[in-house]
């Protein structure tokens, strides 16, 4: 086998121009594939991260049935305090109670539908990226009752501020269904996350103000949970499912991961994995023809030589191996070079980020920022190697069979 490897290796060098062309095509093709796949992963991951870090949270606890029917009356009692405390016994977990409801925000000139989100600012800052996204001001603080001069605060997204034509400190009126659902507020903060859709649709109030506006008493609708290490999510979910009913035995709960709350987003992640496979498969299918062509040419040129090897007593099986090894060396060489080039390119782009300011309007509607950071998963690197191996064998079958099927005398007569 060593001798066959040696001969195959030297044969590749003998036709170095042809080998170089095939190798370059493989390298560039695979690198381009990796960049494409890295790109897709990058923006889908950003989209997921953006959604999880703002609206969804990794894990959420609701009163049972809230996900299917987000009724404002379906609350968790006592401000969810016992549940929050229980959740935070899990190492690395942070929880934030939220009161949620539909509403309308009205400025002097415009109005818009919003989701009212009541939060405790210091808690929300631990689970949500919104706290880090303020371009002016911040979350509203609690309004002391009975103090006449101060209006309660509301924080909105930059896109909504533009729609309403308001700035920090301006007055707006919030409406919510119910008897108490009307109040004047002052813009306490303006944020800009990666998602324009989020920025247009959310209005953050202090938890108590929201509870008052929504008529929710001391109830909350959601406990949003973040984790220092998101890979712990399954363990946290199991912990929550086991522990929370013990804390509130009389309160039916639902514990949902972000994937359960946004199955479409989760499906996109899976789709990206399949897309990577399809991209690779198409690339290698195309390359298989190129490699087969190069091998076939080189086999045709050497038929006489194969005749000599066969007449010296080289078994047909070993001749097949020789051609297969040539193909394997060429393809694996190209795959490794392509992986090196592609991974370097993705790594570099992932570090620096690719600025798409020109398209950012469109991207931010998808929940992706103006700068995309391509990234690769471990599986993205394993699959092309496997496919390269398959391609090498597939491409070499016909040339190898051709080489081995000739009778020595016939091959020796070949001109």
């Amino acid at each position: 086998m060593r001798a066959l490897l040696q001969i195959a290796w030297r044969n590749l060098w003998r036709g170095w121009r042809r080998s170089a062309v095939v190798l370059s095509a493989l390298t560039v093709g695979l690198a381009a594939c990796l960049v494409l796949v890295g790109w897709s992963h990058g923006w889908v991951r950003q989209m997921v991260d953006s959604a999880v870090s703002t609206k969804l949270a990794l894990l959420a606890v609701h009163a049972r049935g809230y996900q299917a029917n987000p009724d404002v009356e379906r609350t968790l009692g006592e401000g969810g305090r016992a549940l929050v405390a229980a959740i935070e016994r899990f190492p690395g977990a942070a929880a934030s109670p939220r009161a949620l409801g539909d509403g309308l925000v009205q400025s002097a000139r415009e109005s818009a539908r919003v989701v009212l989100v009541g939060v405790l600012p210091e808690r929300e800052a631990r689970v949500s990226a919104v706290a880090r996204s303020f371009v002016a001001g911040g979350f509203p603080e609690a309004t002391p009752i009975g103090v006449g001069h101060g209006l309660p605060g509301v924080a909105i997204g930059a896109a909504l501020a533009e729609t309403l034509k308001v700035r920090l400190g301006d007055k707006v009126v919030l409406h919510a269904p119910g008897e108490t659902g009307l109040g004047a507020f002052r813009i306490s903060g303006i944020f800009r996350t990666q998602s324009q859709g989020f920025d247009k649709s959310q209005a953050f109030l202090h938890l108590e103000d929201a509870q008052r506006l929504l008529g929710a008493g001391d109830g909350v609708h959601e406990i949003a949970i973040a984790l220092a290490d998101p890979r712990e999510l399954p363990a946290l979910t199991a912990f929550a499912l086991a522990e929370l009913p013990r804390v509130r035995p009389d309160e039916p709960l639902e514990v949902l991961t972000w994937k359960e709350r946004e199955p479409r987003l989760a499906a996109m992640l899976d789709l990206m994995a399949s897309t990577a496979w399809i991209a690779y498969a198409m690339m290698f299918a195309g390359m298989a023809f190129g490699i087969a062509n190069a091998l076939l040419m080189s086999v045709y040129e050497r038929i006489r030589e194969f005749g000599v090897l066969r007449s010296l007593g080289l078994p047909a099986r070993q001749l097949v191996w020789m051609v297969l090894i040539e193909s394997l060396l060429l393809t694996l060489g190209g795959a490794l070079l392509g992986l090196g080039l592609g991974v370097s390119a993705v790594w570099l782009m992932g570090r620096v980020g690719v600025d798409l300011a020109g398209f950012s309007g469109g991207l931010s509607q998808l929940g992706v920022g103006a700068t995309v950071y391509p990234r690769l998963e471990a599986l993205d690197l394993v699959s092309p190697l496997g496919l390269a191996l398959g391609t090498a064998l597939l491409a070499a079958i016909w040339p190898a069979w051709k080489a081995a099927s000739l009778r020595p005398a016939e091959a020796l007569r070949h001109v």
Binding site: A3, W13, G313, P315
Partner: protein
Amino acid sequence: MAETVLEAQRVTKIYRAGAIETVALSDVDLVVERGEFSALSGPSGSGKTTLLNLLGTLDRPTRGRVFVSGQDTTEMREAERAHLRLRKLGFVFQAYNLVPVLSALENVEFVLLLQGVPTAERHRRALAFLRELGLAELAEKRPNEMSGGQQQRVAVARAIASDPEIVLADEPTANLDSKTAEDLLDLMQRLNRERGVTFLFSTHDPRVMARARRVVRLVDGQIASEERRGE
């Protein structure tokens, strides 16, 4: 009585190209014995190379039987024939046909490698052959760095390296100038005399025929005459 190395019994070879049939050999009987230095002669198209290929198991006869060291090769599978060639037969071709990507030494070693000779032993034996044939200085050279005569001498070294029963040489001098051809024939004659290597040539080179102790003349795919000479 001398031992039979090769035997053709009523061998016929017909080539078919579409509807056209060409009879290359017709009912040829031939026996080659150990120690011979023989030539198959005849004009172009007389069937010399065809007969040599059939005797060397490089091709299969349309009819008749070919025996190598008493073994009937006619019904053998291709793998068995390859094994037989590896163990019993050596070949020298008109166009030298060394493996271009291997050095002279590696070309000689290649057959030993196929025979499963261990690396050190293989290397020692191949080098010894090259030395014996005065080719030691070419050991590391590739075929494209050697003259035609040098390549053909390496090809002879390769053919005898496996210690075959017989070396089949197809027009070995056809591409060589007179001096180089004479040198090559000297070499093969010496190997025949000193090492007892059996040679069978196909040739129309008078220099080869002049040295052969037996000349079998083929005309139109049949044996027309046979001449035996003393040394």
